[in-house]
């Protein structure tokens, strides 16, 4: 069994757990600029497409994705969201991210970690009680940066072959 307990010491484990709680709060409060600070400059931010295949064929397609971003392009998205004409998210969705099932594994070297978490992203808009759920797994690569960690890669695996939210105007 490979669990977090073995890959890192307790202080790091807690630090990482808090990193994810903090990140979720930043996103749910739309503090996107602070959120961007959590990422490394070399960030790759992707989200593969899911397909329905029989076992044992893979059910993810990485050749194309819901996202294909760099830190710079995320920053552009954030700048866009800060204009007064970002209609899709202004008025903003009410969102809440539940982050669970933290799994920390050694990365390529001592300064790197592979971190997986499960997420449930609740999103409501409008006025008749409807909401969307986006559920999946984040597969992150973290890099040590001083005494903190930055996210150097994120691959978000959404658990639907046909997504049931009208757009990804929100971040995973």
């Amino acid at each position: 069994m490979t669990g977090a307990g073995e890959a890192v010491d307790l202080a790091t484990r807690i630090q990482i757990q808090d990193l994810y709680s903090h990140e979720a709060e930043l996103l749910d409060e739309r503090r996107w600029e602070e959120w961007l600070d959590l990422f490394a400059p070399e960030l790759e931010y992707t989200a593969p497409i899911r397909v329905t295949r029989k076992s044992p064929h893979p059910d993810t397609i990485d050749e194309l994705g819901h996202f294909d971003d760099t830190k710079m392009s995320l920053a552009l998205r954030v700048r866009r969201l800060r204009t007064d004409v970002a209609w899709a998210e202004d008025p903003p969705s009410l969102t809440r991210r539940l982050i669970t099932n933290l799994r920390i594994r050694p990365g390529d070297d001592a300064d790197r970690l592979q971190v997986r978490t499960n997420f449930l992203l609740y999103r409501s808009r409008g006025d008749l009680g409807a909401y969307d759920l986006i559920v999946g797994e984040r597969q992150d690569a973290l890099r040590r940066e001083g005494d903190s960690w930055v996210i150097a890669r994120r691959r978000s695996v959404i658990d639907q072959a046909s997504m049931s939210t009208k757009n990804l105007g929100i971040f995973l």
Partner: protein, 441 residues
């Protein structure tokens, strides 16, 4: 007239006949989401018209198949062991079970999981899973193999684009596409193309027609709906996409071409030879001037060359094809393909895909605003279905303008100077109305 006064099909047809006035630039609000209109569309448009299903690169080998939608129905697009591409209703002839349950795959035959009825790659009934002895016990008189052939749609291919229709007697694909072929050549005929990965799918709470007509003739919305472009100084000048041509292609198809005035083509030099080999002179020259191109072939096949953007020192774009599959009057499934020239340099493939994804996928910065708007229109129309007075929407941009002639623009169709026109939208609605009122095909 309120929806409540319409008691059945005949009265609905009457209401449509009276209130849909494309030539006057007037379309009644109820048509956006009326459930009866939607049902008519399913029967008379998606039950009869040519629909785009995919690209030949998705079914490369004998036995390759993908499963796709034609309106509400699920179909198999399969390359038979004779290399011919065919389209079948994805329903077992025994009791209607879904035959192919994967998005794509490669098989010798389709065996139904319920009772094992098995069908060959040409749609022919092969027998039951347990084999002849078993079958003989169950069906001592044998099974009528012909009657059990899969239900097959007419399938034709143009420039690698696979289309199908349930209509047995309607026009050929060639006739249906008509003038739009000249423009499709520019997108997918200019080089060997391949689908990147797999089409993305997601659900948008809109009727299918709002996005389809948007791509047909709505160049005007960009300036407002996508005004983040100017806010962030991402476009030069303030023409906001007017610069170019609006084309009323005919048959309900429409498109707009944005052009640049630079010397050089924006498309990769590396592919110039292949382009030249596949296009005629007029087409090649047009390609070299393209800055963006949006369009829709009736009913729901959208194509787009997003505006070229500069990134990492390169000018790139990422070709998109789409269908808008009707799921309910206020529910549409988007299918969005990204295609690229097979022989393109790596930078074009990588950056083009990135640009496509950032601008026109489910997370696309343009798509976001559009889906927000379409949902809102849909909800307002839904809410207004029982209003007693008819509410008319405005489709009057660019009425009675002169068309350009061949010397001014080489492509076919009625071409207008500047992209701000809804002429093709009005024709879209004319074709749409005629289809809906055509009781028997």
């Amino acid at each position: 007239m309120s929806r409540y006064d319409v008691q059945g099909r005949l009265e609905l047809e009457d209401r449509l006949r009276k209130t849909v006035q494309p030539e006057q630039g007037r379309i009644p609000f109820f048509t956006y989401t009326d459930p009866g209109v939607h049902d008519l569309e399913i029967e008379r448009i998606f039950g009869r018209d040519w629909q785009f299903l995919g690209h030949v690169s998705e079914v490369p080998n004998p036995g390759s198949f993908v499963t796709r939608r034609m309106g509400r129905e699920n179909v198999i697009v399969g390359r038979g062991d004779d290399s011919v591409v065919r389209v079948f209703l994805n329903a077992c002839r025994h009791r209607g079970m879904t035959l192919a349950c994967e998005d794509f795959g490669e098989v010798n035959n389709w065996r139904c999981p319920y009772h094992g009825f098995t069908f060959g790659s040409k749609g022919d009934f092969l027998g039951t899973f347990m084999g002849a002895p078993f079958e003989r016990v169950a069906y001592p008189e044998g099974l009528d193999r012909d009657a059990l052939h899969l239900i097959e749609a007419r399938c034709e291919i143009y420039q690698g684009l696979i289309f199908a229709t349930w209509s047995k007697s309607g026009p050929s694909l060639d006739d249906h596409l008509g003038n739009v072929k000249w423009y499709l050549d520019l997108l997918v005929g200019k080089a060997e193309m391949e689908v990147v990965g797999h089409p993305e799918r997601w659900m948008v709470p809109t009727g299918w027609r709002l996005p389809a007509e948007n791509f047909t003739s709505d160049a005007y919305h960009t300036a407002t709906a996508h005004s983040f472009l100017s806010r962030l100084n991402m476009v030069k000048g303030a023409d906001f996409g007017r610069e170019g041509y609006h084309v009323n292609v005919g048959n309900g198809h429409g498109l707009g071409v944005g052009v640049h005035f630079d010397e050089e083509s924006y498309f990769p030099k590396e592919l110039e030879d292949e382009y030249r080999a596949n296009l005629d002179e007029d087409q090649f020259r047009m390609l070299s001037r393209i800055k963006n191109l949006h369009g829709n072939a009736f009913p729901n096949f959208t194509f787009l060359v997003p505006n070229f953007i500069e990134v990492e020192g390169r000018r790139v774009t990422g070709l998109m094809l789409r269908t808008w599959q009707p799921v309910a009057p206020n529910q549409t499934q988007v299918w969005s393909w990204h295609l690229v020239e097979k022989n393109a340099p790596e930078w074009w493939k990588k950056l083009g895909k990135r640009m496509y994804t950032q601008t026109f996928s489910s997370s696309g910065m343009f798509d976001q605003d559009d889906t927000e708007v379409w949902e809102a229109q849909t909800r307002m129309s839904d809410a207004a279905l029982y209003r007693e007075e008819e509410v008319f929407l405005h489709y009057g941009m660019g009425m009675d303008l002169p068309t350009l002639d061949k010397s001014e623009f080489p492509g076919p169709g009625d071409v207008y100077d500047g992209k701000f026109s809804e002429e093709a939208g009005r024709t879209f609605y004319r074709v749409w109305l005629d289809r809906l009122l055509e009781a028997k095909k």
